[in-house]
Symmetry: C2
Subunit: 192 residues, 2 copies
Amino acid sequence: MDRAARKARLAQAVWQVIRERGIGAVSVRSVAEEAGVAVGSLRHLFPTRAELLEFSAELMVQRARERIRDIPRTENVQQYALEVVKHLLPLEPDSRAELEVNIALIAETPALPKLEAIRDHAYHQLGEACTQLVGMLAGRPRDRQIEEEARRLHAIIDGLAIHLLMEPSSQDTGWAVAIVRGELARIAGGAA
Amino acid sequence: MDRAARKARLAQAVWQVIRERGIGAVSVRSVAEEAGVAVGSLRHLFPTRAELLEFSAELMVQRARERIRDIPRTENVQQYALEVVKHLLPLEPDSRAELEVNIALIAETPALPKLEAIRDHAYHQLGEACTQLVGMLAGRPRDRQIEEEARRLHAIIDGLAIHLLMEPSSQDTGWAVAIVRGELARIAGGAA
DNA sequence: TTTTTGCTAGCACAGTCATGCTACTAACGG
DNA sequence: CCGTTAGTAGCATGACTGTGCTAGCAAAAA
């Protein structure tokens, strides 16, 4: 049963519409057309518009989570951490699109309360990941200072992500990576 | 002529609708009702929906700019800088609403291209403000390192802003201010 | 074979949308 | 006094919306 695949295909059509015409243009009709199916077919998988958007949001989070999880661990902790953070920033067209969609969905939260839970979950997972990263870098178990450093790293990541999104995608992105690299080095050696 | 005041009143109705029901619920009808005027009256001030949203966005940016500009300069540079940053974070209901509206407007950019210019302008102004702040803190003219520090500060501010928005507004916000304070102190004394 | 099931397709309805348009009121300049 | 102007109000139109509903179609199950 490739039901899941068909649902994923429709979710991708949702993302496409959001990126091209904004969240306001997402309707069962526009998404069905983008995916090349009839409205009836779409509504067989997603009876309501809300379910369509919720699934799309969840799938996006899941994809990102898997992408991060599949990064191979290298012996050099700093390099591994840098690789993880690079996958959290919108450096590639894919991850860029992901963030655009993410922001659009956050903006629609007042109209779709279930999105709030999805976003909160993703947010806390990312926070947890930052804490573990900082713990690995500092080479000691979690304590109060590590948690503050993690919050700070988390903020830098999200801030840089937004700034990268503002710049045209063609622009140089080295400055952002440089900041991250410096931050990671500071965390790794900074406690001393 | 209180034409400007009436336009501002309508812009506030736009923000209200965005916060309560999401950007998707913003229509000439919903805004007019929220403001307690007839659709025809609204359309006398703003002939099209796009003009209404563009004005609302610009007014919001302008309000924020004025709020920052009116912060009194204290002799202690670090304290002044902290005060500025605190006004850039969604710590009060007003600034919180501002950020919510901001995100919603960014999300609608694909549908309203003019919003992109407004947002870019605000973004660069904030970047410039960060550079000046860092320059003041470091006590030396602008150079490459100062610009990198400024970018980092800018990222931390925007990242923290988002994180504060995620937490319920009632939550403790001291941790965010603590991070900012540490960052400012590091910049001021850190070059050594 | 007949029946059930998963899916596709689309019609119909009631509602909302932006916007063009006219009509009405009131203030102000001549 | 009249004409002009700004503002208020609302009607009409054509398009788009989500969703309930029926109907067809093909494969699997009975």
